[in-house]
């Protein structure tokens, strides 16, 4: 058998003969790359042919020069003895070596309606002359299956020396060997598996990523053609999109837990992303993908753990392998080495209104003691004879702001207050003049001044119970401002808000008077 020549079908992953193939299924075997049509002088592809155009005499000389080459092995192959009769029947004068090689290796190429073949020699004649009489003596189980029939059509029909296989229900090819049950079983199993894979792939092909709005499997590079599975929900994304999103910096003010780590669609929090080439349809399939991914990671050494010399931030829940190497830190001390201090993010303290709340609290906690002792209770008294329509004193301003911030107990009021501080430069100056002693903390720390002011709670005793920041007469100012803005066409607002103004002004005056 010409086991030393690489099977072309195998090279394309489609050899139906499996173990019984006459050609080598070993990748190291040299492929037979010589164009046989050229040697006959009838290659229709000319210079575009993907096989080597070697003249018959050349191939012979090269074959004889090296004993290990494919040609040589063919010549010495007892299964394909040279047919001198073929030379005469095909009518082309060729060196016998080249012809045997031609008949043996070109067999897989025969296409029933190849015009080039019909020019020179009859198809049947050519097919017959290499195999005639060979397999008849074999047992049915040893006879190879006919690849032409498997591919759809055998030109030899009933006269074919090979076995025409049974029809496979899944792939629809005549490739089931009737006398080899194991092979048949295996083929059926493989075929079903492949079919299933194909179906899943077909299904996956349609799925779009919600971030880039493209079909995941239609992306330009193979690395991008992967899904990123979120552990907690079933929304599809490309791996690059979801990873980019989860890694995007927090400087843009996005919440880590509410936005970045959550599914962009359903906002369910997922702690890890699993790459997968296929999209699943059932829970079990997803579990399978996740498990195989985890198993794969488990075989890779954790770079944080560093064989016992490092401290893995994920501890025992790390997906990677933690192997303790003898002589490492853990080996000696039975505990992980101290963690290196992580560098503090430079973006944590800036004028961003959506500053990381933990940082604020940290800093506020540091300052709180100082603040409290500088805000004795009697400072809270209002200047009682102040005209509410005039400018408020700086401290009152600050107090009102604290009131506004106080109306809600939810956390959003904190943000709002910072926003207010930020929004108006004048107010921030006023507040800072009240809290003059912290001016030296400079701007970055300024944001946190809301903490001490809001700690001046109502229970310290407020002379007038301010229900709302607007009851002090500023509403009048608001409406007047809006009225003044658009002169002449202000009837609607004026008419409706008039009563309101009076009420507010009066009530505010009353409050301040009494």
């Amino acid at each position: 058998m010409s086991k030393r020549v690489l099977c072309k079908f195998f090279a394309h992953g489609a050899c139906l003969k499996g173990e019984n193939c006459e050609f080598s299924h070993d990748w190291k075997a040299p492929p037979n790359n010589i164009c046989t049509f050229y040697q006959k002088g009838i290659c229709a592809y000319g210079s575009r042919c993907r096989y080597q155009h070697v003249k018959p005499s050349q191939s012979q000389s090269s074959a004889s020069s090296s004993s290990t080459s494919a040609q040589q092995s063919l010549v010495s192959d007892p299964a394909y003895p040279p047919h001198p009769s073929c030379t005469s029947s095909s009518g082309v004068a060729l060196v016998p070596v080249a012809l045997t090689e031609l008949s043996a290796s070109s067999r897989p190429f025969i296409l029933p309606k190849q015009p080039a073949w019909k020019q020179e020699c009859d198809q049947h004649e050519f097919l017959d002359d290499d195999d005639v009489g060979e397999p008849t003596s074999l047992k049915p189980a040893d006879r190879p299956i006919c690849s032409f029939a498997a591919a759809g059509d055998c030109p030899r029909g009933d006269k074919c020396p090979h076995i025409h296989g049974d029809l496979c229900p899944t792939c629809g090819k005549r490739c089931l060997h009737p006398f080899r049950p194991e092979e048949k079983e295996e083929h059926l199993r493989m075929c079903e598996k492949k079919q299933k894979h194909l179906e899943v792939l077909k299904h996956s092909q349609e799925i779009e990523c919600s971030v880039c709005l493209e079909r995941v499997l239609s992306k330009p590079t193979p690395a991008e053609r992967k899904f990123g599975l979120l552990s907690e929900c079933d929304h599809p994304f490309c791996i690059s999109c979801i990873r980019n999103w989860r890694n995007s910096s927090t400087t843009s003010g996005l919440d880590v837990n509410n936005a970045l780590r959550a599914c962009p669609i359903c906002r369910k929090l997922s702690y890890f992303v699993v790459p997968s080439v296929l999209w699943y349809t059932t829970k079990e399939e997803k579990q399978e993908i996740v498990d195989s991914y985890k198993a794969k990671l488990k075989s890779i050494d954790c770079k944080h753990f560093d064989f016992g010399n490092g401290n893995c931030p994920f501890g025992t829940s790390c997906f990677y392998k933690h192997t303790v190497r003898p002589g490492s830190y853990i080996w000696k001390n039975h505990r992980p080495p101290p963690r290196k201090p992580t560098p503090r993010r430079s973006d944590a303290v800036d004028m961003d209104p959506f500053i990381n709340r933990d940082d604020i609290n940290d800093m506020a906690g540091l300052l709180e003691d100082d603040m409290d002792c500088n805000f004795p209770d009697d400072d809270l008294d209002f200047d009682e004879d102040i005209n509410p329509l005039n400018n408020l004193s700086p401290f009152e301003m600050a107090f009102m702001l604290s009131q506004m911030g106080f109306d809600e107990s939810d956390s959003s009021s904190d943000d709002e207050f910072i926003l207010l501080l930020r929004g108006s430069a004048t107010i921030s100056v006023l507040v800072s003049s009240v809290l003059g002693f912290i001016l030296f903390f400079s701007l970055p720390c300024f944001n946190i001044t809301y903490k001490p002011t809001s700690s001046l709670s109502i229970e310290h005793g407020c002379p007038v119970s301010l229900q709302h920041a607007y009851r002090d007469g500023r509403l009048e100012e608001v409406v007047l401002r809006h009225l003044g803005n658009e002169d002449g066409q202000t009837v609607i607002a004026k008419h409706i808000s008039c009563a309101r103004i009076d009420f507010c002004a009066v009530s505010a005056l009353l409050k301040y008077a009494g």
Binding site: V211, R471, R474, T490, R500
Partner: protein, 178 residues
Amino acid sequence: MWKGINTALLGRHGYNRQIGLRKASRARLFKEYKEVQREKVADPDIQLTCDDNNIFKWTALIKGPSETPFEGGVFQLAFAVPEQYPLQPPQVRFLTKIFHPNVHFKTGEICLDILKNAWSPAWTLQSVCRAIIALMAHPEPDSPLNCDSGNLLRSGDIRGYQSMARMYTRLAAMPKKG
């Protein structure tokens, strides 16, 4: 020159990533553009158009939702899309004057959580428009950018708020008669 500065600041990898993100945002905006062309008829309240020369600049015309003081008005929105777009929210502001607690009266800046800390890359420009329409119908007076409007609502003066809002809708968002 520009490239040099970027490389110096971000390093080779960071610069490449930035280029990649810009490409991705372009591709995504182009997708959205096609989607908008196709869906033009589907949502008559939103008319989203892209700047002819710059795919990162969009404008939208949205109709004020019915049964609100903004009914009958057509409001113009300006979108400035960042280069890291699906990862970062677009900057949206009203070009038309609007009296709404969550819209800055002068600059038109919008206070909407999905445009800030609750942004998700699954949002599109079209859905952002829809969210803004929903915001117009349901103002959030507790986090006001327009304190006047917010405080009218917070003090329970619904009538005052509505009349003011209607006035500004009539003044700014409706075609002038005659």
